[in-house]
Amino acid sequence: MSHSLTSPAAGSTASAPALEIRGLGKSFPIGGLFSRGSVRALHGVDLTLGRGEIVALVGESGSGKSTLARCVARLEKPSSGAILIEGVDILKRDRFQASRAFRSQLQMVFQDPFGSLNPAHRIEHFLRRSLAIHGKGGGSGEEAQRRLEELMTTVGLQADMLNSYPHELSGGQRQRVAIARALAVEPQVILADEPTSMLDVSVRIGVLNLMRKLRDEQGISMLYITHDLASARYLADRTAVMFAGELVEEGESLDLLSNPAHPYTQLLVSAVPDPARAGSYDPVRRAELRQAVMASTQCAYDGDPNQACSAQEPVRHQVGDPENRHWVRCHLYQPWAGADGHALAGEPAQPNLPASNAKEKASA
């Protein structure tokens, strides 16, 4: 059990990744009917989700993570880019709307388990309908029934709850039903948009554990969208940080959260309350970070005449051990050894990075 917690999913490099997002962009028109203005919600997002891998997408509200989820779920039409599931570009395959074939590959679990289950139907209805639409129920009624009970057991619910109505269940149980409904289709990828944020704190961890179990036992890949860094660290193999519509940093979760390289990631990590390291962040340093990052809606250093880089596209710098696949997209990134500008003072969990980084110094 503990082994599976620490090792990244095996076999993710064997064949095409479960989900691959290439250069995804989305802009929304603003202003009146004849206005040409638009706001850029996503820009050049590249993200790969290996088989049997959970990737967390973190960021604050307005960073574009939900827009990304809506684009991948085909609820929103991306302006540019490609979304590949098992190597096939689904934006080209189903040009206008999501097809049934696509839905059987990718399922969603939404934030609000109270809104996502129709109160007029019994639990059985939701699961049976999923099975029927996607033809996964088998031939006989008996077989479908067996499958329903199996699904309920998988998500840790009693089979006799099939006859319950949603209002008879707690929030955690409802979210488990929503997960069972997604599983009924036997998808390769589950897209979970803040699945625990509306649940009571004591049952949240149960849902996270369920998601982990599904990855370990059934090899389902998940894109876990959250603003809760601690739960991302707990659940996800890799974590990607989104800021102003772009991915700014990505890496193995534990490594990313102990060595955040991008100022925005550092700010996020430093803001999470954790009694274990209370008072370990210098408030002055944090205020500076905040000033640098939050004052701007785009790159923190965009337009700064002292930074020659602001005209170029940011490049990726590798952070630390290549095995952690940890990269950051900031011109100002410097390895910790040489960083006097971006390291947070007094971070206790900060190991010294290997000196091999020195040559990757951002000299742009």
Binding site: S170, G172, R204, G206, R233, P273, R290, P348
Partner: protein, 320 residues
């Protein structure tokens, strides 16, 4: 006097709640939302009340402010504030008590600000009605108040919708401390906010508290946040307090299984990944007995072998 010098408990309590019982009385049935709850808050102390939705923590806050409306009824117990009996106050006394003695910050800042008045008008309103200052004097003080929470005084002319969520919450906090109350009730003040803004608001509250020396009743379900901010805390379950002690003690050695489950529900940001369990579905506590002292200053409701746990088989998995 500053908060850093206060040793908890040795001072005269600002607020003393004893055996408070609140019932919601319906036509056919009634529910006990708060059941014989007792706690006190010392001068300059930050007291945290933790628990999940529906455990009665907001009902307690509303009872202290005497804001409960039908069908809620205070069925027993006493609340005394600086020696005065809050439950016996007349309407006129209550008007002075609210805001001047005790102020409250609610979860949703947008709902506690009037959308058709500017921030300035709303702050001026506090000073003219409660403190009797002139309009000009009030406006000057309103500007100072915004500076106190690091908002540009030019924002006095802004309407609530023109401010960001964090700024609105800071404006509400400024209004709450306008009359220098001796107790500030914070009911989930940062739940709707992003983590960076949340951290700033909490830092702001700490700073204000150090400057002004008021006591705080801090209500949240986020245990990490609570342990960081509070001196002492109590954990509520089903209308009862199941554990109360210094926040650091609760964090280091949670003794009640429910507290352990709550603590286990927050993954840490440092250290190795440890499997956590939280509270399994179906575990419920019932007939929670009165607190008894398990260690010096650490009070826990004893977990009986029979009545207090419904599903003890699942509970074994809940304890870390």
């Amino acid at each position: 006097m500053t908060i850093s010098q206060v040793s908890f408990g040795s001072h005269e309590p600002v607020l003393d709640v004893k055996n408070l019982t609140v019932k919601y009385i319906g036509d056919t049935r009634s529910t006990t939302a708060v059941d014989r709850v007792s706690f006190s808050i010392g001068t300059g102390e930050v007291f945290g009340l933790a628990g999940e939705s529906g455990c009665g923590k907001s009902t307690i806050a509303n009872s202290i402010m005497r804001l409960l409306k039908d069908p809620a009824k205070i069925a027993g117990g006493s609340i005394s504030f600086g020696g005065k009996d809050v439950l016996a106050m007349s309407a006129e006394e209550l008007r002075r008590f609210r805001w001047q003695d005790v102020a409250m910050v609610f979860q949703s800042a947008m709902n506690s600000l009037n959308p058709v008045l500017t921030i300035g008008e709303q702050i001026v309103d506090i000073f003219t009605t409660h403190a009797g200052y002139s309009r000009k004097e009030s406006l000057r003080r309103a500007g100072e108040l915004l500076e106190l929470v690091r908002i540009d005084p030019a924002r006095l002319k802004s309407y609530p919708h023109q401010l960001s969520g964090g700024m609105r919450q800071r404006a509400v906090i400024a209004m709450a401390v306008a009359l220098k109350p001796s107790l500030l009730i914070l009911d989930e003040p940062t739940t709707a906010l992003d983590v960076v803004v949340q951290q700033e608001i909490m830092a702001q509250i700490k700073e204000l508290q150090r400057e002004l020396g008021f006591s705080v009743l801090f209500i949240t379900h986020d245990m990490s946040l609570m342990v960081e901010l509070s001196h002492r805390m109590a954990v509520m379950y089903g209308g009862r307090i199941v554990e109360t002690a210094k926040a650091q003690d609760v964090y280091a050695t949670p003794r009640h299984p429910y507290t352990q489950a709550l603590m286990g529900a927050f993954p840490p940001l440092t250290g190795p990944r440890i499997p956590l369990t939280g509270l399994p579905d179906g575990v419920k506590f019932r007939n929670i007995p009165d607190l008894s002292e398990a260690a010096p200053g650490h009070f826990v409701a004893p977990v009986g072998a029979d009545a207090s746990v419904i599903d003890s088989a699942n509970l074994a998995g809940a304890a870390r």
